[in-house]
């Protein structure tokens, strides 16, 4: 009986374990899938479920904390990681994530403490080396920054950010030629590295290489914004739409519409103009016309969020709930505040 009970219990417990293991695996898989899709709230829910099933699950802790950082819950990530690390002080990934959390909290010294612990255990840990170099640079400890960044480059010679930060470190010390060399290496490894071109222009100017400085400034300008043609057109439209803006401020909607339509003759494929016209048409109660204008705006520039919001309202008014929901989803996606978006 005892054996049987034990077997039965064991059997039953085994099934629960199997079920538990399956549930855990499912939660982790779901979390990682959601993470890859950028659904961080959903992902964190899944990782939280995984932690409920197995509180010490390292994947659930580290990935969950990362999701919390992505959704601006920095203190929550901090608490999760410190609690976990008190029981698992040797988990390097958790410690690295905690260091990242300290950086988000602007506590560079605390981040460095965590990174040094990782480096002590693994002297070739790239993340620890690079970020220690980065923090030292930020703290104005240029010798220490140079050492750590060179160590990082030794581990991974093709690491663009290590070369970049080393370039900044040299630049801060007035070592323009060395800075230029590192920044050029960064640009070679990552031709679209905005900061590399921006600072290479500075380094070149400081070392008297005017030609390189000019070239790099042009590269920076082209990388950091719209194409020159786009920029010029946008500026032209902007300059010419002032009358429309003034009319709007005076609540002269017909006047604003006239101004925008006049501009449309000159810029027939400028999406924001259609959006502006759609908004004014809404103010004037011309909802059918607004629908056409806003659809055109969304078609010309799928990145414009506002037409989708306004379209959603229009579709809902017409009883087309499916289209309304679709437009609202598109709007919400475009409006999602990414981690680190300025100010948030």
């Amino acid at each position: 009986m005892l054996l049987a009970t034990g077997c039965a219990g064991g059997s039953s417990g085994g099934k629960e374990k199997v079920d538990g293991a399956e549930a855990l695996a499912a939660a982790l898989d779901h979390g990682e899938a959601a993470f890859k899709d950028g659904e961080y709230v959903e992902a964190e829910k899944a990782f939280a479920e995984a932690r409920r099933l197995q509180p010490d699950n390292a994947r659930a802790v580290v990935a969950g904390a990362t999701c919390l950082l992505k959704t601006h819950h920095v203190k929550a990530a901090h608490d999760l990681l410190t609690s976990y690390l008190s029981a698992h002080p040797g988990d390097a990934a958790a410690r690295l994530t905690l260091a990242r959390t300290y950086l988000r909290e602007a506590d560079f010294d605390a981040a460095a403490v965590e990174l040094r612990k990782v480096r002590e255990a693994d002297p070739k840990n790239l993340l620890a080396l690079y970020n220690l170099g980065f923090i030292a640079y930020r703290n104005g400890q240029y010798d220490e920054a140079e050492r750590a960044l060179k160590d990082a480059i030794q581990v991974r010679p093709e690491h663009p950010e290590a070369h970049y930060t080393l370039g900044l470190t040299y630049l801060a010390q007035g070592r323009s030629a060395e800075a230029a060399a590192e920044l050029q290496e960064t640009a070679r490894l990552d031709p679209n590295h905005v900061g590399a071109h921006f600072n290479l222009a500075r380094a070149a100017a400081l070392s008297g290489n005017t030609a390189l400085a000019n070239t790099e400034r042009q590269t920076f300008a082209s990388l950091s914004g719209k194409s020159k043609a786009e920029t010029e057109r946008s500026e032209q439209v902007k300059a010419q739409s002032l009358k429309a803006v003034q009319a709007l401020m005076a609540e002269d909607f017909e006047g604003a519409l006239r101004e925008y339509r006049a501009l449309l003759v000159r810029y027939p494929d400028h999406a924001p103009l259609y959006n502006d016209i759609g908004r004014v048409q809404l103010r004037l109660g011309r909802r059918d016309e607004a629908l056409v204008s806003l659809k055109k705006a969304a078609e010309l520039d799928p990145r414009l969020s506002e037409p989708h919001y306004l379209l959603s309202n229009l579709y809902r008014e017409r009883g087309d709930q499916a289209s309304a929901d679709r437009e609202l989803r598109t709007f919400a996606t475009l409006e999602t505040i990414p981690e680190g978006k300025s100010g948030y």
């Binding site: 990362t66 958790a94 988000r104 909290e105 923090i135 801060a172 946008s234 300025s342």
Partner: protein, 598 residues
């Protein structure tokens, strides 16, 4: 600690981070508003004798800013407002003008509606409200900021108030009253104006006016921002709106102004301008212009003798050290490192540091030195607005003050780290160009979170140290008196009066030598955020009991340099162009009639 073990999570971490995540501190993340505990370091202890005291109520100031919001979260509710120190009645004392915003445009304004307020400085530490008599209430405007100068060269200081919608120019009648001359002067603007600043950019002896316009938001263009799923409406990010061109008005000398924006070579139609400062970065005798933009690149225009060249890219002052535009709010220019060249300090949004751009040699390039001098880490979590580079403890170097507060009143819902109300910050210069936030060591006022916006600096009580006034958003205004600054170090204050140059001497560049140290200052109108400081130049002298020499380059076409010999410290000097020192007063001594302006 036992050896670290690497789990499968490392792979997750690497996949998540890529191979670098400092970026979460650089572009985005990071910030700890509070620096090391105050009072623990020697330099903090040294400065502890100087403290700011909130004397608002005792001084008779009862201004409360109102943004007028009723929950619809109109974008304009987030940005205002500024304030200006200037001598409105010509008695030589610094009066104080608070800009009012609400009610929202289109809302009825019955009697009793809050208005802008002009407080006259009585000279005994208190102020009286003279708004109605003066006629500067900006009754119909949704106010942003202000700037003051004697644009018509009649010997009294006039006032320009920026609004969302038509801005207003008040001409000083010389008897304590003002007249709205906007229409005749042609400076209505009519757009969403933020800061404005006077300067005689073409050295013709008449102050011109630069108006920084922000975005194309109108009351009929309210966009939905926030979280739809949670039905939470928030204030929008500036990305939701397009920028607007700024305007440079040339003073024609007949009471009228002319829009010379294009012909002068100033044109940034996409800029979302908030802060502006005129300063002669290359010391060639004419004022250059720097504009802080919100979420678009900042711009530096070099003045080439009346027309301008955009030298932003050459200077590297457009953005972060990684070349990314930030959310420029307020700005000031002064020599932060004591090398004789004026540097730039720009306040930014949370998760971006307030940037210090070091002017290397006036030839063009600036270096972004923010983190290296200790200003990055402590400013990361805060959103900075009003600011000033000034010597709060009279030790001979320039410190930095910043008013803080997030634009979103529900930021705590979005982030568990950021807050709407934030503590102001005072960064003390250690004399070697490194800064430390000293928190409440400079007074309890620095421990009180607020929704900081406009900030202006003046020695309002004429006691030899610099006081601060603030105009927070939708909150009561403040006046903070500096207690101990004039004891901590000697000082001298210079009021310059132009004769060939414009009367305010806007653009005058002063090099002062005392105690073996050279300091530079420039006379300017507005800076900070929508605000204007006392135009007198205040120098902390440390232990020096006298000034050895004062060299003034006057802002006229001849760019005449006038040298003044040794002067006793702890004096208010009035220096008239071509005539030298015409008054030297100790604190408490009666001021010359009319403030020695005429």
């Amino acid at each position: 600690m036992r050896g670290l073990r690497f789990t499968g999570a490392v792979l997750v971490a690497l996949a998540v981070f890529g191979v670098t995540w400092h970026g979460f501190a650089a572009a985005p993340g990071a910030g700890a508003a509070a620096a090391a505990p105050a009072g623990t370091k020697p330099e903090v202890a040294a400065a502890a004798a100087v403290r700011y005291t909130d004397v608002t109520k005792a001084a008779g100031i009862d201004f409360v800013h109102q943004h007028g919001g009723q929950g619809r979260k109109y974008y304009i509710e987030t940005t205002a407002a500024g304030l200006c120190f200037f001598d409105a009645d010509g008695d030589g004392r610094q009066d104080l003008y608070f800009v009012q915003s609400g009610p929202l445009p289109g809302t009825p304004r019955p009697p009793g509606t809050p208005l802008a307020r002009l407080y006259r400085n009585r000279g005994d530490g208190t102020f009286e409200d003279i708004t109605v008599k003066a006629g500067v209430s900006n009754r119909t405007g949704y106010g942003s900021g202000c700037t003051a100068a004697d644009y018509d060269q009649d010997g009294d200081v006039d006032l320009y108030v920026t609004n969302f919608g038509p801005s207003v120019l008040y001409r000083n009648n010389g008897d304590g009253t003002f007249t709205d001359v906007t229409a005749a002067a042609g400076v209505r603007n009519g757009l969403y104006a933020a800061s404005a600043a006077w300067a005689d950019y073409d050295l013709d002896g008449r102050p011109d006016l630069y108006v920084a316009n922000y975005v194309d938001f109108t009351m009929n263009d309210q966009k939905y921002c926030g979280n739809l799923q949670e039905k939470r409406r928030s204030y929008c990010h500036p990305d939701a709106y397009e920028g607007l061109p700024d305007i440079l008005y040339h003073n024609e000398g007949n009471g009228k102004f002319r829009d010379v924006t294009k012909t002068a070579g100033i044109g940034d139609p996409n800029g979302k301008s908030l802060g502006v400062v005129w300063f002669d970065f290359d010391r060639d005798g004419d004022d250059d212009l720097y504009v802080a933009n919100d979420a678009t690149p900042n711009v530096l225009y070099r003045n080439d003798g009346g027309t301008f060249t955009d030298v932003t890219l050459v200077s590297g002052t457009c953005c972060s050290e990684d070349g990314r535009p930030q959310s420029g709010m307020g700005v000031d220019a002064a020599d932060a490192d004591g090398d004789g060249w004026q540097d730039l300090f720009v306040t930014n949004l949370s998760n971006e540091p307030n940037e210090l751009y070091r002017n290397l040699d006036g030839k063009g390039p600036f270096a972004t030195v923010t983190y290296g001098v200790g200003l990055g880490e402590p400013s990361l979590l805060a959103t900075g607005w009003g600011t000033g580079l000034y010597d709060y403890d009279n030790d001979g170097d320039l410190d930095i003050v910043v008013s803080n507060g997030h634009p979103m009143d529900d930021i705590h819902v979005v982030s568990d780290l950021l807050t709407y109300e934030q503590k102001p910050a005072l960064y003390r210069n250690d004399g070697r160009g490194r800064f430390q936030e000293i928190g409440t060591a400079a007074g309890d006022v620095f421990g009180i979170p607020d929704v900081g916006r406009g900030l202006a600096i003046a020695d309002y009580d004429d006691d030899g140290d610099l006081d601060i006034a603030l105009n927070p958003n939708n909150r009561p205004g403040h006046l903070w008196r500096n207690d101990g600054g004039s004891v901590a170090g000697h000082w001298i204050s210079l009021k310059l009066v132009g004769t060939r140059s414009n009367k305010d001497a806007l653009g005058a560049f002063v090099t002062l030598t005392a105690g073996g140290r050279r300091q530079v200052r420039e006379v300017r109108s507005a800076s900070s955020y929508m605000s204007q400081n006392d135009m007198r130049l205040h120098f902390g002298l440390g232990a020096a009991t006298k000034v050895d020499a004062i060299e003034i380059r006057w802002p006229s076409k001849t760019k005449t340099v006038e040298t003044i010999g040794a002067q006793e410290a702890d004096r208010f000097l009035v220096i008239r162009e071509g005539a030298g020192v015409v008054a030297a007063l100790r604190p408490g001594e009666a001021k010359p009639s009319g403030g020695a302006r005429r």
